[in-house]
Amino acid sequence: MGLDIEANKKLVEEVLEAYPKKAKKDREKHFQINTEEAKTCGTCALKSNIKSRPGVMTPRGCSYAGSKGVVWGPIKDMVHISHGPIGCGQYSWGTRRNYANGTLGIDNFTAMQITSDFQETDIVFGGDKKLEVIMREITEMFPLAKGISVQSECPVGLIGDDIEAVSKKMAKELEMPIVPVRCEGFRGVSQSLGHHIANDAIRDFVLGKAELAETGPYDVNIIGDYNIGGDAWASRILLEEMGLRVIAQWSGDGTLNELEIAHKAKLNLIHCHRSMNYMVEHMEKAYGIPWMEYNFFGPSKTYESLRAIAALFDETIQENCEKMIAKHKPEMDAIIHKFRPRLENKKVLLMIGGLRSRHTIGAYEDLGMDIVASGYEFAHKDDYEKTFPMMKEGTIIMDDPTAYELEELAQKMNVDLVGSGVKEKYVYHKMGVPFRQMHSWDYSGPYHGFDGFKIFAKDMDMTVNSPVWNLISKKEKVQAEGASI
C-alpha cells in the first residue's frame, strides 16, 4: 500500500510556502513525491548536488569534512594534518567513531587532532615553511607513522600555498608517502566533493605502490566502510566466513599498506557507493577489477548481498554462503520475531548523508517499519535513481532538506521515528519525537551485518517505544483538561 500522493504533494507545497520567492523556486526542485513514473525516471525533476541556499540551515558540511572526516581520517597508521586554522581539526576530532585497533598516538592516529594551527602570520606569509617543519616534527613525535596526509582548510587554498611542492620535497627527505589533499571547505557544494578529491589523492599517491606477497582467487576489498562503531569488522567477518579473503579495508581501521595493495584484489565490494565510487570505477579501468555494491543493513539485504557476492565466485563459496545464511537465519528470525511486533507500521523519516537513507531501508522494513519520507544531505543523481525504485509510492523524496523543512514534515506527517544527525537530534527531543542519530549510530553500533542488525533492532525498539516520549503528552493532556497537578 502506498502513501497518499496528492496529500503529500500538497504537504510539501505548504511547507515551502514559508520561503521567499527565489528560495522557494529553488527548494521546489529538491522535492519529489514517488510515483510509478518517478521510479523509472526518478530524477526527471529532482535537483541534487547543487549549491545550498544561503541562510536556510542546511545540514551539509564541506569538502574538508568529506576528505579528512570521512575518507582519510580513518587510515590509522598515517598522520593526517588538519592544515590551516584550529577549528576544522578540533571539530572533526574523534566525532565519527571510526574504530581502529592499535595504540593511539603510537601506531594508530585516528582519534588524534594534529594541526598547523594557523595564526595571522601564516595567512600573511604563507604556511609552506611551517608545513615542512611540521612534517619533520611528526616523524620525531610519531616514529612509527607510515605516512602523512595534508588536509587543506579554506585559507590554504585562498592564500595560494603550494602544499604539493612541500609534500613532494618532504616525501623525499622523510622517505615516506606524503599526500597533499586539496579539500578546502569552500570547494564544491557539500562533503561530497571532498570524497572525490580524497579518492583522487589515494589514486594518485598510494594506489598500486605495494605488492601483495601472495594473491589468491578469493581476494576482495571492502571499499567505503568507515568502521563506525565497528561496522567494517561486522561485515568482514561474514565475507571471511564465506571463504573470501579481505585484503584491504577502506578506510575504517585501514592502513597505508591496504591502500597500496588493493589493486591486487579480484573484486571490489563497495558499501558506501557515494563516497568511494570514484575509486572502484578507477580500479576497474586501471586494473580491470570488477566491483559490486552491497548492502549489509538488515538480514534481507544482507542475504541478498551475500548471495550476489557468492554468485561471482565458485560453488565452494556459494555453498559456504548458503551454509552461513542457514546458520545465521534462525537468530535473525528470532530478532525479527521479537522486535517486529513492537515496530510494525511505525512511520520513519530519514535524512542522512549520501547513501544510508536508502541503504538502511531494508533494515527498517525487516522490522515492519515504513519509510514515509527520505532524503540526503549530499547525494547525486545516481543515488536518487537507486532510491526511487526502493520507495513506496507517495513517499516524499527530498534533497538537502533544511532544518525548517524537516521539522515541519516530521510534525505534519506525525512520524514515529526520525533518523538523522546530531544537529537535528535535540530538536526532535524537544518535540517529543523519537530520534536516532544515524551518522555515527548514536554512539552505539555496529549496525552492519548480522551482529549489527541485532543492535540496530534493539536500538530502534528502545527509541520508538521508550516510555519517556509519553511523559510529554501526559502533561499536555492534563493541561488540556484543565486539571492542575
Binding site: Y19, P20, K22, A23, R53, P54, G55, V56, M57, G61, C62, I81, I86, G87, C88, Q90, Y91, S92, Y99, N101, T103, L104, D107, Q113, I114, S116, E120, V133, E137, E140, L144, K146, C154, P155, L158, G185, F186, G230, R236, V246, T255, L256, E258, I261, H337, A403, Y404, G421, V422, K423, K425, Y426, Y428, K430, M431, G432, S444, K454, I455, K458
Partner: protein, 519 residues
Amino acid sequence: MSKDRLEIPDYNSLFSEDRFVQQRENKRQFEAPCSEQETAEALAYSQSAEYLEKNFNRKAVVINPHKACQPLGSIMAALGFEKTLPFVHGSQGCNSYFRSHLSRHFKEPTPAVSSSMTEDAAVFGGMSNLIDGLENSIALYKPEMVALCTTCMAEVIGDDLSSFIGNARQKGVISEDFPVAFCNTPSFVGSHITGYDSMLKGILSYLYDRSGIQAAPGSGEETGEKLNVMLGFEPYTGNFAEIRKILNAFDTKYTFLGDHSGNYDSPATGEYEYYYGGTKLDDVPLAANALATLSLQKYTLKKTQDYIGGTWKQLIAAMSTPLGITGTDKLLDTISELTGLPVPASLTEERGRVVDALMDSHPYIHGKRVALVGDPDLLIGLIGFCLETGMEPVHIVCSNGDVDFNDVKFKEEAEALLASSPYGSEAAVYIGKDLWHMRSLLLNDPVDLAIGSSHLKFAAKDANVPLIRVGFPIFDRHHMHRYPVLGYQGALNLLSLIVNTVLDELDRNHSGFNFDLVR
C-alpha cells in the same frame, strides 16, 4: 525471566569475542604493521624523559590542542540574546561543525545559519550570499535580531560585513531598522573565547549605538539597571542559575549581558521553539545606565570590558570564574561593594555548610596532586579551589592563554596565585601548549587526578589517571553542565565530583583488606 530472552552484545563484548580477536590477528598480514617489539619500544619511548624534552621543543606541529576557533564562541554569544539568530558568513561546513560541537556538549539544538559560500564567492566575494542569506533566514526563522560573524574564508578574501549589510538594507531585503549586529572572527586569531568576546562586544555596541541613548552610569538604578553581569563563554547553564540565585539573595537589580542558559537548557514541551530565553534586546542600551558591570571571565571578556569601561564609562569589576570558597567570597564582596548591599545571611549560611562539607572531605583530597587543563578564567578558578582545599596543582596547561591578552597576563596571575600557597609550590603553568605536552607531563611526573574537558581523556588514560570532567567540551558525560561549578553550591559540586572520584578509585584499587564500608 522469559525464555525467549535474546542476548544482544554491545560493541565492547562483541568485539572481545574470539572470532573478532581472530579476525584482528588475521587482518594484520595485510596491514604491514610494525612488529610488537617496535610498538612496545615506541610506546616506552613516548613515555620517556627524552621524549618529553623533544615534545616541548617542537615549534610548529600542534597535537590535541585544547581550544576551538572564534566563530564557535561567537555563536554562543549570539544565543545569549533574545530571539537572535547566529549567522556565520563563510563556508557552510564551519557552521555545521559549530552546531554539532555545541550540541554535543549541551545535548541541545544549536540554531545557526551560514551564507554557504563556495568557489564563486571566493572569487567574487560573498555579498550576494550574505544578502540572500539574510532574506532567507529572516523569513524562515523569524529572528528579532541577526548576529553575524565571519569565518576564516570571509576574512581571507576581505569581505566587508558593514557595507554588505548596508547594501542589503538598500536593496530592501531587510528593513532599515532590523537589527544586524556583527563582528569579525577569523579562525586564525585567538580562540573560541576571543570569538565570544568579539560577538558580545559587537552586540552591545550595536544595540547601544542604534538606540541613541547616552550612557549615564548610575542613572538607571531607580528603573532597575543597577548591575550588569557577564558570565562569558560559559559551558555551564547551571552557573547562570547559581549567579541568579546569588543576586536575588542580595535583592539587587541586575541585567545579564548575554545569557544562553535558556537556549541551552529549554524544556521538552512537545514543540520546538527556535529561541528560548536570553537577554532582552531592549535591555542592552538601558544597561549602559547601570552603576557597574561585573565580569566573571576577565580574560575572556577583555574587549567587552574595555568597551563598557570606555564607552559606557562604567565601573568594571572583573574576575575569573569564581570557584571555591575564596573565589565566591570575592564575588560576594564585590557585589556588596558595587551595590552597597550587605552579603545576605542566607549565603553566609550556605558558605558555612559548604565549608563544613570541605572539612568532612579534606582527608581524602589533601595533598592530591592534580593536573589542570582549560580556558584561562576557568584555570584561575580551579587553581584557587585546589589551593584552598589542600590539593596541589602540578601541571597546568592552557592552549589559549597567550598573546591575545596583551596587558592582562594570565600566566603571571596564575603563577602569583600558586606562589601564594605552599600547596602551589610544585606547579608549572604552560601557555600555548597542548594535550600532547600534557601527556608527557603526566607520564614523567605523575599526578593523582586530572581535571579538564573530555579531550583530556586520552592523555589521562595513557597515564592511568582518573579524569574529573570540568570545562568545555564535555562530550562523553551527561548533564554535567546543568550543575553549577561556581558559587558555594558550585564548590560543593566540585568537591563531590572530586572526593567521590577519589573514593571510587580507592574501592576500585583496593587490595582486599581495605574495601572499607565507612569512609
